[in-house]
């Protein structure tokens, strides 16, 4: 069953400050929903990595920050979408440590490790859509 979307907020990535704004939005939502500090840090950091990737590789993109529910759990879904160059060597990027720009090449692999669900759709020359989900841990 596809989770239902309880709230949705748009992201615009066009400059460095947008990366900061995006991670603040996600952090605020996680805290508002009562995510524990470790889970909050995980989804916030994953968002930061993905937004930076959009900014560096595609220069601009759009995104969504959504509060979702699958009935039993609530979660945060973050989606980043760009019309950039796409990821040519996805397997290597997913394995981590493969860097084509600044940073360590941990952006994609790191955000995958930090989140519960991870999906990447990429076409070289067309763009990339990356979606991550982090579920709130039961208290």
């Amino acid at each position: 069953m596809a989770p239902c979307v309880l709230s949705s907020e748009k992201l615009v990535i066009a400059c460095e400050d947008d990366v900061v704004i995006a991670r603040r939005k996600v952090r605020l939502l996680a805290e508002t929903l009562g995510f524990d500090p470790f889970t909050t840090a995980a989804i916030t950091t994953a968002t930061s990595e993905l937004c930076r990737n959009t900014w560096i590789h595609a220069e601009k993109g759009t995104g969504l920050v959504e509060q979702i529910s699958d009935g039993g759990r609530i979660g945060i879904r973050v989606e980043l979408r760009d019309d950039g160059p796409g990821i040519a060597d996805l397997d290597r990027v997913l394995a981590g440590g493969y860097s084509t720009a600044k940073s360590l090449g941990l952006g994609v692999s790191g955000s995958r490790r930090l989140t519960d669900e991870f999906r990447v759709d990429t076409v070289v020359g067309r763009g990339t859509v990356i979606t991550v989900v982090k579920w709130k841990r039961p208290t």
């Binding site: 460095e16 900061v20 909050t40 840090a41 916030t44 950091t45 692999s109 790191g110």
Partner: protein, 128 residues
């Protein structure tokens, strides 16, 4: 006290203490790295403590800049310790697969300053 950009740097004897209290944008992190290395050269500081207690989110780019800065300062001959990493930051970086290699860390500023002075004493006594 000197404030190059938004990160205050305090001089304690021959050690510089940089306290990062603002959320780091990439360009601020880059500027900090450059400024602190210049400040080491200018002041002849033999120790550097970078306090990141104020950082609630450290992603791979900021972590890399911090690690690089520590390794660069060490290469210049300045004993460097990164202190005050929050539990959630440490957990997040390790889960991501980040390794802060070649940089000493300590729990807090006090421990960091003590470690720097230990290292300097050892250096002057010729031991390793």
């Amino acid at each position: 006290m000197s404030a190059h950009g938004p990160i205050p740097v305090l001089r304690i004897g021959s050690t510089l203490l940089a306290s990062i209290q603002v959320e780091l944008r990439d360009t601020i992190a880059d500027a900090f790295q450059e400024d602190i290395l210049k400040m080491i050269a200018k002041t002849g500081a033999t120790g550097l403590v970078i306090d990141i207690t104020g950082l609630e989110v450290v992603d791979s780019y900021v972590a890399r800049v911090l690690g690089d800065t520590g390794r660069m300062a060490t290469l210049m001959g300045t004993e460097t310790v990164v202190v005050g990493m929050r539990p959630v930051v440490a957990a997040t970086l390790v889960r991501m697969g980040f390794r802060m290699e070649g940089v000493l860390t300590a729990l807090n500023v006090e421990d960091g300053l003590a470690l720097v002075s230990d290292l300097l004493v050892r250096r002057h006594s010729g031991g390793h």
